[in-house]
């Protein structure tokens, strides 16, 4: 599974770096390093919806505060 996080200007300011850190921590915690790959991407063209995160081609709009929920609801669910 590949998760792509936008690191363009606008998403960067809205917290891409923090989201990446949270995801990295959760991936390590759940021992999923072999199953989940994190990727960066420049502008995905959806700046209004930032921070843009893509999972299996689907676009999600995250904030650092909603990242853990996203991980539970989407990442863990899909892997289950």
């Amino acid at each position: 599974m590949v998760i792509t996080i936008c690191i363009g200007s606008s998403c960067h300011l809205k917290g891409s770096r923090e989201i990446i850190q949270i995801l990295e921590r959760l991936i390590t915690l759940h021992n999923l390093k072999n199953k989940v790959e994190l990727n960066g991407s420049f502008c995905m063209g959806q700046c209004m919806k930032g921070v843009c995160v893509k999972l299996d081609g689907e676009l999600f709009s995250l904030q650092p505060s909603t990242t853990e929920q996203f991980f539970k609801d989407e990442v863990l669910r899909r892997l289950a």
Binding site: I7, S9, S10, R17
Partner: protein, 350 residues
């Protein structure tokens, strides 16, 4: 000895007179005569001049070196110290040393005041740094860097250390190096109209140059037209700036406005402040802003901006902690500072 105030005023007048006259084609005889006849005579020391070194290098490589009472210019060619075949000439009772020669690629010249070769005298060193030791140090340093300003910073740092941070004399170093012209092209911002993507890209790719792409959408355009992948990384070498990326064939790919803001800060500091070694360690850092500034400052004689004027709606958002809609303003300031550094700058909007 005096406070240095009078000396400083005389030195300023001398350099201004010399600079203005030589630039307008006056001979060294006329210059020295003017200095001797116009500068006020110091009541205490009965002198009306300050020491000077002049190095003129013309576009065709012809060079003219003139010195009066300063330590000789250190001249490094092909990694070796060169002896300068001076001719002496007496003007208005002053002995002037001069030399005409042809400068070659990678030549390095260091002009200095005597505070340099006396650095550390009576403290760390019995006789100070001495011309020979200073020249050896310079030869070694030219192997480390090709940059004139970096070399000047290294030499003045060495003097400062020898003086143990309290210089006993005016310590001035000026460095000139001969390099080929080097172009840097910067693509930043998508054009107002998508139809201009290809035209902007064509202009950006023209001629030999280092190529920087600054901006997420800009990187997408470049990658699309070149049929290449953008390889991003998540390695935050600087917490405030998004990581850099790579595209085959590009020398540097970065985020846009935040990174340019950092680059501009460094350029501004370089032009407006006294820079030392700590500035260069900032410039050597592995982040997009430092990389852009370093390329412009140290690896560029002509700078070409290709600037798209499209406006990103999301960047107009007053809720963001930083105004992202300032690209053109940033570019205008970068152009300004690059010109002050003596670079030839062009700018094209799309």
């Amino acid at each position: 000895m005096g406070s240095g105030v009078k000396a400083n005023i005389l030195a300023t007048l001398t350099s201004k007179i010399l600079g203005t006259m030589l630039l307008n084609g006056a001979s060294i005889e006329q210059c020295v005569e003017t200095i001797v006849k116009t500068l006020p005579v110091c009541k205490v020391r009965q002198v009306a001049y300050s020491t000077f070194s002049i190095l003129q290098i013309f576009k065709n490589g012809d060079a003219y070196l003139v010195e009066f009472d300063n330590p000789s210019c250190v001249f490094v060619r092909d990694g070796k110290l060169q002896k300068i075949p001076y001719e002496e000439k007496v003007i208005e009772g002053k002995t002037i040393k001069e030399c005409r020669f042809h400068a070659e690629l990678n030549d390095c010249f260091v002009l200095m005041s005597d505070g340099v070769i006396f650095a550390g005298v009576g403290k760390v060193l019995n006789f100070g740094w001495t011309w020979n030791s200073m020249a050896d140090y310079t030869v070694n340093a030219t192997r480390v860097t090709l940059s004139a300003s970096r070399l000047a910073a290294m030499l003045s740092k060495a003097c400062d250390d020898l003086y143990m941070q309290s210089p006993g004399d005016d310590t001035t170093v000026a460095v000139a190096r001969i390099i080929n012209s080097k172009a840097v092209n910067i693509f930043t911002g998508p054009p107002m109209s998508k139809e201009d993507d290809a035209r902007m890209m064509r202009d950006f790719m023209r001629g030999p140059a280092k190529r920087i792409v600054s901006g997420g959408t800009s990187a997408n355009i470049v990658a699309r037209i070149l049929h290449k992948q953008i390889k991003t990384s998540l390695n935050y070498t600087d917490p405030v700036l998004p990581p850099v990326a790579t595209i085959d064939g590009m020398d540097l790919v970065t985020e846009g406005v935040l990174t340019l803001t950092r680059a501009l800060q460094l350029m501004k500091q370089y032009v407006e402040e006294d820079i030392d070694e700590s500035f260069f360690s900032e410039l050597d850092k592995d982040n997009g802003g430092s990389k852009i500034a370093k390329m412009i400052i140290e690896d560029c004689t002509e700078l070409h901006f290709f600037v798209g004027k499209a406006i990103n709606e999301a960047h107009q958002n007053p809720g963001l902690p930083f105004d992202l809609s300032i690209r053109q303003n940033l570019v205008a300031q970068m152009v300004d500072y690059a010109k002050k550094m003596g670079k030839d700058v062009t700018i094209q909007y799309y």
